[in-house]
């Protein structure tokens, strides 16, 4: 019974983790169709921003939840102005440009922080579920992710800005005719996407040993989750993360973590063979 609870907790955590690392990409790629291959490096920058801020005496929660998203958001803003805005609608060119960008960011991080593993301690104590001891920070990750998803939903569906952003992504010419500058809306959306990525990097910083190349371990999973999710940002993200989190954890518990990873990839291949448009191309159509 206790074990079942622990497994359930772990499954929910791994779903939350997938949602967290993919949310920024879902906005940037899902909404704007910009393939940001530097997504993982944005997370890495968020992680370093957190560690530097904590080192400078900032409260760890402020560092993770405010400093990291702001730093990466501003980085995204600068990059959007300097590079991405010239490449909207040119899928392959953005891929090349952002790939170069990811190499540049890895190089810069290596130059500044060196090629060693750095990290900070987890600020939350573990707690018991029956006879088991579980990681209290995992619960924090779940809560942060839930709040983040609700916030994205509220902004996109409840605010005027969300409406304009969605409208612009569908028909930028119409938005323009109605007096909104698509250029500015793209810029702000890219900022928001980058900030979400920074949040993920910040929240994960205490859990992993951070190296300048840390980003590469997230990028594949983030893309798989977003592409399998399909056109709808939130429904897609939640449905594909739930599927993959469930599959990988079941196999991790019953066999081992390598089989868990393999199972995730096989599930993604089968899913995309059956539903090339992603989950929300068939189910939950028209949802957000």
């Amino acid at each position: 019974m206790d074990l079942a609870l622990v497994v359930a907790f772990q499954v929910i955590y791994s779903i939350a983790l997938l949602v967290l690392i993919s949310a920024g990409l879902a906005v940037v790629f899902g909404m704007m169709r910009v393939i940001n291959l530097a997504h993982g490096e944005f997370m890495m920058v968020g992680g370093y921003a957190t560690i530097v801020a904590v080192g400078a005496g900032v409260n760890i929660y402020v560092a993770m939840l405010i400093v990291a998203p702001l730093t990466v958001g501003i980085l995204g803003l600068v990059i959007e102005r300097l590079v991405i805005r010239f490449l909207y609608g040119r899928l392959v060119d953005t891929m090349l440009a952002t790939w170069g960008l990811s190499l540049l960011l890895i190089g810069l991080a290596t130059l500044i922080f060196g090629n060693t593993t750095t990290g900070i301690s987890v600020p939350i104590e573990g707690f018991p579920i029956g006879a088991y001891q579980v990681n209290g920070y995992n619960l924090f990750v779940i809560v942060v992710t839930a709040v983040m998803v609700v916030a994205i939903y509220a902004v996109l569906s409840g605010t005027r800005w969300g409406l304009i952003a969605r409208g612009t992504m569908q028909r930028s010419d119409m938005a323009s005719a109605l007096g909104y500058s698509p250029d500015r809306i793209y810029m702000l959306t890219f900022f928001a996407g980058s900030a979400l990525t920074g949040l993920a990097g910040g929240v994960l910083a205490p859990l992993v040993g951070l190296v300048p190349t840390s980003g590469t371990q997230y990028i594949a999973k983030a893309f798989i989750t977003v592409i399998s999710g399909g056109a709808s940002v939130i429904a897609g993200l939640l449905s594909s993360a739930t599927l993959f989190g469930l599959v990988s954890q079941i196999f991790t518990f019953s066999v081992n973590s390598m089989v868990g990873e393999i199972a995730l990839l096989i599930a993604a291949v089968i899913l995309l063979r059956l539903l090339p448009q992603g989950i929300t191309g068939r189910f939950f159509r028209g949802s957000m």
């Binding site: 301690s121 001891q133 579980v134 995992n138 371990q217 973590s257």
Partner: protein
């Protein structure tokens, strides 16, 4: 005398040629008097945390050799290439050391993959090779000398100590490549020899960084000890997540890899304290040679906190080669090999290191240590451990032409 254009040109070019030729002649004359050490280390790229201190150890050793009058009256110079954590560059630079620089010996290589990339090149070219890093054991080649700790030397000390201290039920976690696989087998063997029982062994690919399920599985199995041979940055997360789940005070842990790249200084004191390891070196070792080594390092580089297990192992490898050249009275390859096989030994910062003639591996001291506030506190010292794993498969006295890496069956 009037200088016309022709005489000016003739005189000028003669002077020019003369001055160009001079350094070349001098250079060649000098080269004959110096011994060349070829060095291949990753001083940039993802393995530079290992390679940079090793390169510093090399410079320190060569400075000390030269300050002491060189070897048999000859000064020593370093020809070094940065292999940039790129295995392809190892083969390329090894060729260069062989053909162009014509070095007398090569010291270097960090990962086992890099060693295997250059070992055959150097073997064919008849250039002696020193590999000075902790590794999985089993290399049998008369052209190589290895002074790093092998699993048997470490695990033979670690497992009985952990079992005696904490109990019999063992859970093993290891990296999923040859080092981890082989080390896990040795853990099982020495664990069972000491009366323990391995209840589960899990292997992890090098990029796994989420250990939540593993931590739950370990609790289900309820072992007395967790022993790990995890490698690299992503695997560091295990120790963080373990501490974060509050498991550190519940199940004790031992490791064969944590600390080699100074990981105990990356983990916080709370995350690291109490983890037991076994290595050849700790900066805390109390001996006059170690004190002198720390002082010399501090005088040359300032910061002694960069020193780690394999930097010292590299330093000792250089001392071994230097001693062999002295004993042989020459740097000529066959004479040095005979010196290596003729009871070679030195007194290094980590104690006495001697070479086993049958395997060309080192016999050295192993210290059982515990992490305490980001340092390694020595609990117990085991003097002069034999490389029994490699000895089980390799006998260069009987088969001097052997040239392969054995996968040791246990």
């Amino acid at each position: 005398m009037t200088i016309d254009r022709r005489t000016f040109l003739a005189a000028g070019s003669a002077t020019m040629l003369g001055s160009l030729a001079m350094p070349a002649i001098v250079g060649r004359a000098l080269a004959a008097d110096t011994l060349k050490i070829g060095s291949l280390l990753d001083t940039s790229g993802i393995f530079d945390a290992y390679g940079k201190p090793m390169d510093m150890a090399l410079q320190l050793a060569v400075d000390q050799i030269n300050a002491g009058g060189g070897l048999n009256g000859q000064q020593v110079e370093i020809v070094s290439y940065d292999t940039q954590s790129d295995m392809a560059l190892y083969t390329q630079y090894a060729q260069k050391l062989v053909r162009q620089d014509k070095v007398d010996v090569v010291h270097g290589g960090i990962l086992s993959a890099s060693r295997e990339a250059i070992r055959q090149t150097l073997h064919k070219a008849n250039i002696l090779y020193f590999y000075n890093v902790l590794y999985e054991g089993g290399v049998c080649d008369r052209n190589i000398c290895i002074d790093g700790v092998t699993p048997a030397q470490q695990v033979e000390v670690l497992m009985p100590a952990a079992i005696k201290k904490w109990g019999k039920k063992i859970y093993i976690l290891a990296a999923d490549y040859n080092y981890g696989q082989i080390t896990a087998r040795w853990m099982k063997k020495y664990g069972e020899d000491a009366g323990g029982e391995v209840i589960q062994t899990d292997f992890f690919p090098l990029d796994v960084s989420d250990f939540g399920a593993t931590i739950a599985k370990i609790q289900t199995a309820a072992p007395d000890i967790v022993v790990c041979a995890l490698v690299g940055g992503p695997h560091m997360s295990f120790f963080r997540q373990w501490a974060a789940a509050g498991m550190k005070s519940k199940i004790p842990m031992a490791s064969t890899t944590l600390g080699v790249g100074n990981e105990h200084k990356v983990l916080t004191a709370e995350e690291g304290n109490g983890i037991v390891v076994a290595y050849n070196y700790s900066p805390e070792l109390d001996s006059p040679v170690n004190a002198a080594f720390l002082k010399a390092w501090g005088d040359k580089f300032g910061d002694t906190s960069l020193i780690h297990e394999i930097a010292v192992s590299h330093y000792q490898g250089l001392l071994l080669w230097a001693q062999a050249v002295k004993n042989a009275g020459s740097a000529e390859r066959m004479k040095v090999i005979e010196a290596i096989e003729g009871g070679l030994s030195i007194d290094g910062p980590a104690g006495k290191v001697s070479v086993d003639p049958k395997t060309h591996h080192a016999i050295l001291d192993v210290h059982l240590m515990e992490f305490e506030n980001q340092t390694m506190k020595v609990l117990e010292s085991f003097s002069q451990r034999q490389p029994v794993d490699t000895q089980a498969v390799c006998d260069l006295v009987a088969n001097p032409d052997d040239n392969q890496q054995y996968e040791i069956k246990i």
